[in-house]
Amino acid sequence: MKLFVSEGNPHCLKVLAALEVTGAKCDVQYVNHEERVVPFLSRPALPALLLPSGLHLFSSNAICRYLFEVNGQDSSELCNQWLEWEATELQPALLQALHMAVLQGKGSEVSKVLQGPLNYLDQSLSKKNTPYLTGEAVSVADVVLWAALYPILSDSSLALGDRKSVKIWFDHGAAMHSLQCAAQKVLQGKGLQGMKSYMQKQPAPQSSQCRDTQPCNSSPAESEEGERLVSEEEIEAAALTWSKSLNACPLVANRQHPILPQEGKRNLLVTSALPYVNNVPHLGNIIGCVLSADVFSRYGRLRDWNVLFVCGTDEYGTATENKAREEGLTPQQICDKYHAVHSSIYKWFQIDFDYFGRTTTEKQTEIFSGDSTSTGFLVEDTVEQLRCESCQRFLADRFVEGTCPHCSYPEARGDQCDKCGRLINAVELREPQCKVCRQTPVIRSSKHLFLDLPKLETQLEQWLDKSTSTGDWTANAKQITRSWLRDGLKPRCITRDLKWGTPVPHPDFKEKVFYVWFDAPIGYLSITANYTDKWETWWKNPHQVELYNFMAKDNVPFHSVVFPCSLLGAQDNYTLVNHLVATEYLNYEDTKFSKSRGVGVFGDMAKDTGIPSDVWRFYLLVRASRGTGFSLLLGRHGYEKQL
């Protein structure tokens, strides 16, 4: 058995004193402060005890305990309690006090730091009225505490205040030969200054104020979502309601269309991000977010809230133009065909929309004329675009493929890189190619409209502050929005040189259409307008209506920044998003589902398996609830196990 100690190290006082008191047989070796005696610890830890078995003890309290036990003195529970207090409450304060007194020369402030622990010690001693901490005899607790406090209490220059009980108790210890001996060995008669070289090698203690702000290992209950402690009454009330079962619930009124906001009720306008029309929807679309929105709406109706759940297919844009070309049909025909496909698949999945519409209606164009186009938040500018000379037109977005300028992914599309997710403009792509004829396009200038996001930034931030703090926003939605704002808003181009889109109602931009991501959220409005003439009672009524947007996380910036800005720019008292629920990606085995690349399980395949839609709904919801990113694992054992 060997004890390693270093001079000037206050922790060694304890073990040396314990050795003397117990008279245990042990070799003692003096080493330098930096010596790493304990093989598995990165930082030097002294004192250390090498046990006969070969194990090391690096805790001074544990060493003392061991020495006492070997000497026939077990630690009582009260002893344990004192040792735990010493390690968790006294030592941190002591370390700070020593740092101040020895290195900073702030001897006068030591008293403040040690006030708490010394008061506690004094109170406990005076209450017990025994000479020693645990009774009539010296225990390991006494030795440890005496040794810990020795450097401080024996230095008369530190005005620590008058604590009678502590003084009496301490004097007992100070008078003991063993403690004096140990003190001599460690401090060499130099008092506090004997510890200078040791203290210099220790990391600076965190002051007691900032102690609680940094720990990453704090209890999970204090995380952002927070856990609410439920009272006894609440638990009992819940149990009672549960036992009454559904019969006691208010009846769900039959729905009367059109559903309009009602006075005195909670009016919820629920939208699910409009699925893009160009292919059969896959399970990823369904869980994020049509299914989530559906479950929420059903819940809302059971709670007797006034819910309007709208959705529809997003039909404009270059992807549809691409698909039309592929299938040899006109864009309108493609949209008609696929809208029907979407509709039937969602019906099979029992998604209970109040209305499932489409963006390609006259209402869309009508609503645009009344929009931010007239209010001075639009800026004109010339833009450089890629033009394919052989196809004779400007290429945008999905007509171009090239290498991402940020992450070098070779199949980046002209609006967003699939790999790193950053939004890009087609002209930024390296080695661009026209998707149709594979020629390299040239850069030409063209006039376009921009939404002046920077001008709207303050208003947006005001709204977001209110909305994110009072509404239900998923953590990922808040995070993504914050990082967009942090990167700084720039004007966004909202027009494109295309034929298939909402025409821009501005004489100078006759040949252009609105960029699909600008016009799609307006789709929510036009779809509602197709459902009821009184659409403005939902969409221009922020005081009576709460807007819930459900979407997959890649749509967040458009719903939390771009769309609210367009609405704020129109200055027409639009209802803005109160609650934003963003689901994570559903992965197909380990890759992302993709309609445009044909990867994953699609809605019609789900039907063809013969497994009922309720099972699919359940399975998808359970997987989705697992948090960040989840994989669809195929095979029968998957869902059987869940059921």
């Binding site: 610890l41 990165s42 194990l55 061991y66 735990e84």
Partner: protein, 173 residues
């Protein structure tokens, strides 16, 4: 958090009547009031008391050496592990990993209270690790997975997946 650990410990020990705890101070140190005896303060102190109450002294170590080792790790848990900062995490895990290289349990070959409380304390760190990091701290992961599957231990904490391919968890071996 500490109170939940104590309640889980009670369940593991099979103590029939759960105790009522309170807390003191801003660090919320647990306190056990009892009718006849003076109050006990401190997570480790109370835990050791419960073990004695349940007549499972072997959980505290069966020799003077192992008892010292157990107390050492219990102290380590409430001093270094709780409230360790982000910068310290790597060191904590690295040292722990090295320590566990040649041991099945913290006290060697015997399952003790040290394993239980280090498991409770380190859970929130392990949960945050990616699969690759878990593989890096191979011994910690092995020990962790062992303890979390030990009958009656896990209680209030969610299980942490240690294997890359979840399809086999529960079905494998």
């Amino acid at each position: 958090m500490a109170l939940r650990e104590l309640s889980s410990l009670e369940k593991f020990l099979g103590l029939k009547k759960p105790n009522k705890y309170s807390t003191q101070g801003d660090k919320k140190v647990p306190v056990l009031q009892s009718n006849n005896d003076p109050a006990l303060v401190g997570l480790v102190t109370i835990a050791c008391h419960l073990v004695k109450e349940a007549k499972r002294p072997e959980l505290l170590g069966d020799s003077a050496e192992s008892r010292a080792v157990v107390q050492q790790w219990l102290e380590h848990r409430v001093t270094k592990l709780d409230g360790c900062t982000k910068e310290d995490v790597k060191t904590v895990l690295k040292d722990f990993n090295l320590y566990l290289q040649d041991k099945v349990y913290l006290a060697g070959n015997q399952f003790t209270l040290a394993d239980i409380f280090m498991y409770y304390g380190i859970h929130s760190l392990i949960v945050e690790l990616a699969i690759q990091e878990k593989e890096q701290y191979m011994n910690v992961t092995r020990w962790f997975d062992h303890i979390q599957h030990y009958p009656g231990i896990r209680h209030h904490l969610p299980p942490v997946a240690v294997l890359r391919n979840r399809i086999y968890t529960g079905r494998h071996h």
